[in-house]
Symmetry: C2
Subunit: 357 residues, 2 copies
């Protein structure tokens, strides 16, 4: 069976890897060490500094900077047909020096294109932007969309941006005119309603709230209505919260739609038609519970598989999407829904076998 | 069948109603008009200024200040056996002038005791506090707990307080030593991860996130472990998000419990044993969907019915808890679970009928 992994975190060994790609005057900034990194305010986070214990980079860095290693340990090991690279370097995290942040996004995109996408046709890419400068982000999307392996725009989830705000419309317009998906992924800055929480497992439990807040913001502020062709994917936020979020928005919409007359469909209908959710991290559900959740979501077409490689809470496809699921549903989650979202041309192996007979 | 309504919003006609109860020097403050009210930053909120269209106070105020009217329109109309008064005047909303806020809580409690609780034995009361002054709140709890109809401490959900923080421990200690339930209810200040949202239906959709954040804060910061006898109830936040929240916390706990060695049970076990959730607002679910959600919660003992009278999104018991549910489950939601939580002595009407034969 084909397998599409929608959330694979490529990286770099150090910020020096971006020096060849960044424009003046920032090449000098980086060369002079003008980068303090993004950090989390917890003394302790998770085992292995966030990575799987078996992910050991030769240079000692925490991210996976070697495409050959990632191909061997993920693509070949798990027979991945397509891997969508999502990064974990999100310049939107920089609240100051927005032109520098936009330049860092461009440098990162050029690095990914040259070092990663060219190395294997199984890789698809995400265009990184600095969302705090929306017009510059739109120009970057237009620039990178020409690359045939770039399939989406990555909007990182930070503490102070709800993407339904009219500020960010130029980014969605650029994604739509370039026929790109819009993906959302949390960052080390994502937080819940009362900040980041006081322990790391609290902070990590709050991530789905940061994501639900984005879905609510996007749909109830009309992004789905204004950009009718655009499709969206939520990464690394799980999915078992979706029935509640859709029911709640539907109830609010039925009661209060006089406030938002530009929203033309029930929120759940918008989501059913144009939202996907990557399954990782799947919680510890039985097959029966998983089937109930999917039934409550109301369609089998929303979930797409992801491993979150190389992070510590990696989902193995067999553990997360059990073989006891009906085969048709399992195929949808493991590859068909993602192939539909991204337009990947993946022959069904069963059909290929039949044709060969 | 008995019926317990766990969320009934009594109020007052105007702040002048508190003048007889408040201590010096604040009696003069109030008499001089030193009260600006709590307001929401939306031009438009909901039909009827937040109330059911049929709730018409003779004095024109938005809250229900007349116990006789509430008894007629809610208790008698719906055959309510017990109504837990929860207020909607939460002095914790005042970020400044904390001694005044604590005095307002005391004045409100005395008003409720004199005007409401004494008027009908069907009323149970909530002790209001200013949570921003935890030691003063604890003293207020000790003072009011002597009233036999006071059954719980009300902790309001505002924008900047996560009750798992060690600041608030004196409040939980006072509730526990007085054998009171701790109730949580949102206020006009509740917000999601990115503030209040840009439209009222967005803000109203974000309320369950503010509540989930509290459940996560309480359990993962050890409040359930430190106060082993304490029981908790969530009001007006719905419940269909609970399966996700419990699964997520359990997954995080299994991965990361080395960070929080004082948590001795799976988060879901803590919730199953000591958390209740009022059903209002129930979303538009079919009976089958409602049964699936309860199955995913993992126990029938957590849900308790509430109308949210007099608010516009009032839940009628028959509409919210359909007669097509199994009778035993319906009895648990409509009264048995709440009777267990609050220790109400309510004879089962079936047993009474049998005994009378």
């Amino acid at each position: 069976m084909p397998l599409i992994d929608t959330d694979v975190h490529e990286g770099f060994a150090g910020i020096k890897d971006l020096v060849p790609y960044i424009k003046a005057p920032y090449k000098d900034w980086l060369a002079q060490g003008a980068w303090r990194g993004f950090s989390q305010p917890f003394a302790y986070t998770s085992p292995g500094n966030g990575n799987r214990a078996d992910v050991q980079n030769e240079d000692g860095s925490a991210s996976v900077s070697d495409p050959a290693m990632l191909k061997r340990d993920l693509l070949d090991e798990y027979n991945v047909t397509k891997a969508v690279l999502t990064g974990y370097f999100y310049p939107t995290g920089l609240k100051m020096q927005y032109d520098f942040a936009s330049a860092m996004a461009s440098a990162y995109n050029d690095m990914v294109a040259e070092k990663w996408l060219s190395s294997d046709p199984r890789f698809a890419g995400s265009i990184q932007v600095n969302a705090r400068a929306p017009e510059a982000a739109a120009r970057e999307i237009d620039r990178m969309a020409a690359h045939p392996q770039m399939v989406q725009v990555m909007l990182p989830i930070v503490d102070d941006i709800a993407y339904g705000h009219p500020y960010y419309r130029p980014i969605f317009a650029a994604a739509e005119r370039n026929d790109l998906v819009v993906a959302f992924h949390h960052t080390v800055f994502a937080q819940g309603p009362y900040g980041m929480g006081l322990h790391y497992i609290e902070r990590h439990s709050l991530i789905p709230l940061a994501i639900q807040g984005q879905v609510i913001s996007l749909i109830l502020n009309g992004v789905f209505d204004e950009f009718e062709k655009l499709r969206f994917i939520i990464l690394e936020g799980g999915f078992s919260w979706l029935p509640h979020t859709l029911w709640r928005m539907d109830r609010e919409y039925r009661q209060g739609r006089v406030e938002v007359p530009w929203i033309k469909k029930l929120p759940s209908q918008h989501a059913h038609e144009r939202l996907k959710l990557a399954t990782q991290p799947t919680e510890d559900m039985t097959t029966d519970q998983l089937l109930k959740v999917i039934d409550l979501i109301g369609t089998e077409d929303l979930l797409v598989f992801a491993t979150d490689y190389p992070h510590f809470d990696f989902d193995d496809p067999d553990a997360a999407i059990p073989r006891s699921l009906p085969d048709g549903l399992r195929q949808k989650i493991l590859w068909k829904n993602a192939a539909d979202l991204y337009g990947f041309d993946i022959p069904d192996q069963h059909n290929r076998a039949t044709a060969a007979e």
